[in-house]
Structures are given as structure tokens and as C-alpha cells.
């Protein structure tokens, strides 16, 4: 049963949805029919599609992957070797051509086209697990609050003529800091919670980094420890989640352990800069 469930899941993943998989199967049948009508051009596509389908969704392949190379299941990109796009597209072209040659009434043609559109939308919407799409904010890839914080940090970096600035903050800040600028270093990377960037290698973090990461998620209770740890490790900027303080009714501190002072705040984040920066700024 587990194998059959894996086969079914693989088939869903091969096209990305139940609907597209079903259309692909229908397309293969259509290709077989067209091949019988002696159109040799589709022979290669038909046999490649059929062989690849049988190769990647047969139970033996799944058993072998489970036993010999379980890490291949992480991506399952072999499933994309199934030629979903050309089979679907050739089927669409053949179907429309058939309609043009054999359906004479305009009403019937409109109904035919409407039916094709409905099938396409149904196929797309039967996604097996959907993430919702998010839109860029004025073509920017960074959240507005985060971008404001990064701009302040960059201003500080330029003012103090620093080559690099070390930052610590919540997950989303650490993830986007490295995307915003290569001059922003972090005390820990997103691979701590997202996984390694190199499949052959995993970076080992130290205990203090894990402690710091956990303290940041409860910053309203641990901001003194965060400041001490960050100061010891040469951090110039600390970003805390404002909502943690608001939700727990904790007053927002003006400084952290007299090492960092509150330099900038917006609706989502509090930016603390290292105290030596304050003296130089004033």
C-alpha cells in the first residue's frame, strides 16, 4: 500500500497536479491514435513519453530509490523527465485542428473552445499542494519594513566607512539581509532552519549560535543576553521583532545592556546599533 501510495504521489508530482497528469495520459492515448494514422513525426514523442512514464512511476523504481538512494526523493526531479508539455501541447493542437475541420456550427465551436478552457482551468486548479503567490511591492523583492531597516544599516555602514556590517535578527531579517547586500554579514545563516546550500556539505553551528537564534525568537525576555552575546561576537546591528514586545506588554528598551542603542523603529522592527556608533554619530 505504501508503494502504491508512493506511485500515486510520484505521478501527481510528475506533472504537478492530478488534472495535468490526467490530461497527459489522455494526450498519450491521442498520440497513439495519431501514430496509427501513420504520422511518423509523433512516434518518438509517444514512445519516449510512455517509456519515461513507466520508468518513473513503476514500483520497482520507487523501491530502488527508497533502498539505494533515498536522498533522490528530496527533489524527485526525475519525474520532470516525463514530457508533459509537448504531449499536452500536441494534443491541444490536434484537438483544435479536428474541431476546425469537423465542427461547422459556430455555436458548437464556441462550446468546444469553452470546454477546452474549462478543462485547462480544472487541470491547473487541482494542484496537490498549493502555495499562494505573493506580489512584489513596487517591483521590490524585499518587504517594505525590512527594506527600511536595511537602508538604515547601510547608512550606518557608509557613515562609519565599514567594509562589512554584522547583523543579527529574526529569521526573515537574516534571510533577506544576505539577499539585500553582500556587505551584511550575519552571526548565523538561514541554513540553520532551511537546510544546507550544498548537498555534499553541512556547516556545523556552535551552541552559542543556536542559543542566540532561540533567544531572538523570545527577544522580549532575553534582550540583555542577546546584546551580550552579539557584542562578544562583533555584531554591529541587532534587529528585534517589535510585535514580541507589543504582544507581551513589555516596554521597548532604549538600550540593550548599554551596548546597543535604539536607532530606528518602524511598525515591525526595532533596530539597535552598537554604542560606539552612537558616540560617533552624535
Amino acid at each position: 500500500m505504501a508503494i502504491m501510495s508512493a506511485v500515486q504521489k510520484s505521478f501527481d508530482m510528475a506533472s504537478g497536479s492530478v488534472g495535468l497528469s490526467a490530461l497527459f495520459m489522455a494526450g498519450l492515448i491521442l498520440l497513439w491514435y495519431v501514430m496509427r494514422e501513420k504520422k511518423k513525426e509523433v512516434t518518438g514523442l509517444f514512445w519516449y513519453g510512455l517509456v519515461m512514464l513507466i520508468f518513473v512511476i513503476n514500483p520497482l523504481y520507487i523501491i530502488l530509490i527508497e533502498k539505494k538512494a533515498p536522498q533522490l526523493k528530496v527533489d524527485n526531479l526525475y519525474l520532470w523527465l516525463i514530457p508533459t508539455a509537448p504531449v499536452l501541447l500536441y494534443s491541444l493542437v490536434s484537438t483544435i485542428a479536428y474541431m476546425r475541420n469537423n465542427v461547422k456550427s459556430k455555436v458548437q465551436k464556441s462550446a468546444f473552445i469553452a470546454g477546452l478552457v474549462a478543462v485547462f482551468i480544472l487541470a491547473i486548479t487541482t494542484s496537490y499542494s498549493g502555495f499562494s503567490i505573493s506580489f512584489t511591492d513596487k517591483f521590490s523583492y524585499f518587504d517594505e519594513s525590512e527594506e527600511q531597516v536595511f537602508e538604515e544599516i547601510d547608512k550606518m555602514r557608509n557613515y562609519r566607512s565599514l567594509d562589512f556590517v554584522t547583523i543579527v535578527g529574526p529569521e526573515e531579517i537574516v534571510e533577506d539581509a544576505r539577499k539585500y547586500s553582500g556587505y551584511f554579514n550575519t552571526l548565523y545563516g538561514k541554513e540553520m532552519w532551511r537546510g544546507s546550500f550544498d548537498p555534499q556539505f553541512t556547516y556545523s553551528y556552535e551552541a552559542w549560535q543556536y542559543d542566540l537564534y532561540h533567544n531572538i525568537s523570545k527577544a522580549h525576555n532575553h534582550y540583555e543576553e542577546i546584546a551580550e552575546c552579539s557584542f562578544r561576537n562583533g555584531c554591529q546591528a541587532i534587529v528585534l521583532d517589535r510585535h514580541l514586545f507589543n504582544k507581551n506588554g513589555v516596554e521597548i528598551p532604549e538600550s540593550l545592556a548599554n551596548r546597543y542603542y535604539l536607532s530606528f523603529e518602524n511598525d515591525d522592527y526595532l533596530l539597535y546599533l552598537r554604542s560606539s556608533a552612537k558616540n560617533e554619530d552624535s
Binding site: 518518438g44 520532470w80 508539455a85 512584489t136 539577499k179 554579514n185 548537498p199
Partner: protein, 323 residues
Amino acid sequence: MVYLAPVFLIIISYLAGELFCKIFCDNTKNLVEKCLIGTLFVLISWGLYVTIMRGFTDSFSSIAWSYSVFLLALFTAALLFSWKNIKKNLEVKNVSSLWPVVICLSIILVQFLAIALVKPNTVYDYTLETVNTTLATDNLFDYHPGMGILVEYAVSDRGKLVTLPLFYAYLSKIFGGHPARIVYMMIPMWGILLNFMVFGLWADGLLEDDKEKGSKKTLFLVGLGLLNIGGLFVNESVFYYIMEKGFTGKSICYNMIIPYIIYLAHNIVVKKRYKDIIYLLMAVGSTVAITDIQTGLVPALICLAVMTIIALVYKIGGMIKWR
């Protein structure tokens, strides 16, 4: 300037492809196929160049500068030796109607707009981090992309073969602007153009003897555009990857290189175009430079193995029939 990146890539690829075909005396390739061959050549040449040069220097800017000299030499050689061919390829011949071109360009523009408006999925991706790290440190592989610090062992030897993020860093250096614009917008747009080129060749092959080839090919490509746009909502499919992760090596591999490998294998086996073996080897080799071996080279080899088995079965079947 950064918005010209896809155009620059297409032009450089075309010139490289033109020169390549001239060197191998191959007159069978049209403009689209020369662009694809040139793209493979650019990816492989960058990968080989970085791999060789990192034995001599760790400085990214010196490698980028010298590669620019190489590209300029290529550009000049292509113009000098293939000018007549270039003129011939760029001539507009016997166009009965511009509607197919307008329709295809419209669907491409809708995809471009979707790429520009929708945030890419970067959850498990480190491409932009690697680009930023390379540009900020001027170093190839010694800095950890997740933290930006110098570490003893940042990238594995197998990981150092993947030079695609460094190619994006090179493009960012040329065009300026924020690297996110290159990585998350321009490269996916370039990927869409390559995807359309490859499936345009597929359409030419599947509809070869068809009377209404022009209109059917337009419908084929429009359908491809609709599948890609629909892919925004079909998570973890190849269509999703081209729209929301078009900058990854996996996306380029599965949306351009592997379909092109199948096309070339078909040409070699069925149409007996044995010169295409060179391009096939280039296509397979380029998968090493753009993504990990597990997600690029191995699937490409599986694909080739299946095509070979099918060809052998047909040949043996034909021999048995003849007897």
C-alpha cells in the same frame, strides 16, 4: 541597462552559435538553434574558464575581466568570419502575416509581466546570497553564502563545479544595479525565451509535414505560454519552476537543456544528423556547470539512455522485419 540583460545574452549566444557552426561547417542550423547552441557554449565556456582559473587566482574580478576579453574576441571573430551568414539570418523572408509573431510576443510579454510582479520562491535557494557574497568579497568559494564570513570549508569540490551563480555575479558586474534585478527578473525572462526557442524546434519537428504548420505552431507556443502562466498555481511542477524559480540551474536544465537533448537525440537517430552529436555532448556537459550532478547530469543521462534504448529497439525491430 540591467533590463537589456536578456537581449545581451541572446545576442552573445547567437554570435557564439554562429561561430561554432562555422567552425564545424554546419549549415543546417537556423537562427533559433544557433542561439541555443551558443547558450550552451557560453555556459560551458564560463564553467571551464572559472574551473581552470581558480587554480591560479581567487579573485573574481580578474576572472570576470579576462572572460569579458574572451567574449569580445568571440564577438569580433563572429562578426568577421560570419558576417554574410548573420546578414542572411537576420533578413525577413516571405512573411505572409505578422499575426503569429504578435500573438507569440504577447504571450511572452504576459509571462514577463508575471515574473516582474510575482515574488520568486527563494525559500531553499541561495543563488542571490552567493552572487552578493561573490561581488562583495571578490572571492570565488571561500566565503559562506549564508553568513558572509570566511570559513575553512565553505563549498564542496562537487559544489565548486556549479558556476551558474558566478555567471550571474558576472552579469551583475557588467550591468550594474541590484543583483536581485538580474537574478530574480532578467534571468527568468531569459529562461522563458530559451524555453520558447526549444519548444519552437519541437513544434517544427512534430508539425513538419503539416499543411497549416504556421498557425498550429503559433497555437503550440501560445499553449506553452498558458501552461507556464498556469504553473504559478501548480506548486512544484516544472511550469512552476520556470515562473517562480527560473533563476535556478534546475529550471534552466529542465526547461531548456533536457528538451533540447531529446530534440538532438531525435535528430541524430531519425534524421541521421551526426554532427548534432557535438551539440548533444555540449548540452550534457553544460548540466554540470549549472546545477548539481544529481539534479542535472544524471537525469540528462537517463533521458539519453531511454532515447538510445528506443532507437535500438526500433533498429532491431526494423532488422527483424526486413528478414
